[in-house]
Subunit: 153 residues, 2 copies
């Protein structure tokens, strides 16, 4: 999908979500959505704030947090708490479902996919009568690079 196409797509989704839930379609909300979808990878609120300030947007941290809540509610953004206390976000639409592998030493985050997770979701839903909406699988350990540095045999 072309980038511009995707932008139009998520804007439409967000717009419909806002209308359906009686929220207003403010320019700030769409500016934030665009900024989120203009970059790949994870980001935190401070980084997003910095990027938007640099582009001369007049936006506050409070609005960023509020808008992230809305975007999470309509599944356009996912939130993670990998390492410390500060939350990491990533865009979620039209990306293959993926999970994360995190190195305890260097803090690096890699992505992976495994279809067996979908099977686990199905089983949990059936056995526990649970309406599964999302999941997050984190695998922690030592990445290849850090292992090699340790034993430079």
């Amino acid at each position: 999908m072309v980038v511009a196409e995707q932008q139009a797509n998520v804007q439409r989704i967000f717009s419909e979500y806002l209308e359906l839930h009686g929220h207003r379609r403010t320019p700030e909300r769409f500016a934030i959505l665009n900024e989120v979808y203009a970059h790949d990878g994870h980001f935190d609120i401070e980084r997003l704030y910095g990027r938007m300030k640099q582009k001369k947007y007049r936006v506050s941290r409070a609005t960023l947090y509020n808008t992230m809540d809305l975007l999470m509610d309509c599944d356009l953004v996912r939130r993670h708490r990998f390492g410390g206390t500060q939350a990491q976000f990533e865009k979620a639409h039209a990306f293959r479902q993926h999970d994360h592998v995190i190195c305890e030493r260097c803090g690096g985050v890699q992505e992976f996919c495994d279809p067996r997770i979908q099977q686990i979701r199905n089983t949990v839903g059936e056995v526990m009568g649970f309406d599964v909406r999302h999941h997050a699988l984190e695998i922690h350990g030592i990445c290849r690079n850090c292992k090699d540095k340790q034993r430079p045999s």
Copy 2:
């Protein structure tokens, strides 16, 4: 396993860990370990602090946080960040490996086991050259109870 047996067991593990890493075997550290292993389920620092204060232990929050770091390092405790910002802990030794199902509506946390997760860990280790140490799988959605309340058909 009898409770007293388990206590002795984890105390030995902790003791050896401390010696191996050049840490001191202080009474506070073992008092905290015992308190952690005296209860089931999840707890946060404030709750643990309250319980120990009630039992007239002279212990500080700082030491609780420091000791949790040690206990996590030797795999006697796991830390989670389910909902808000405050971390949840649980004892980790001699308990069947399990993961968590979290209801978005009532905040309830249930446990489940699925052997396919071990298979995923193995695959990630092999394919990515990753030395897997831990994992955490959270499944989010609506639990049976909350579904039933919604539609009391």
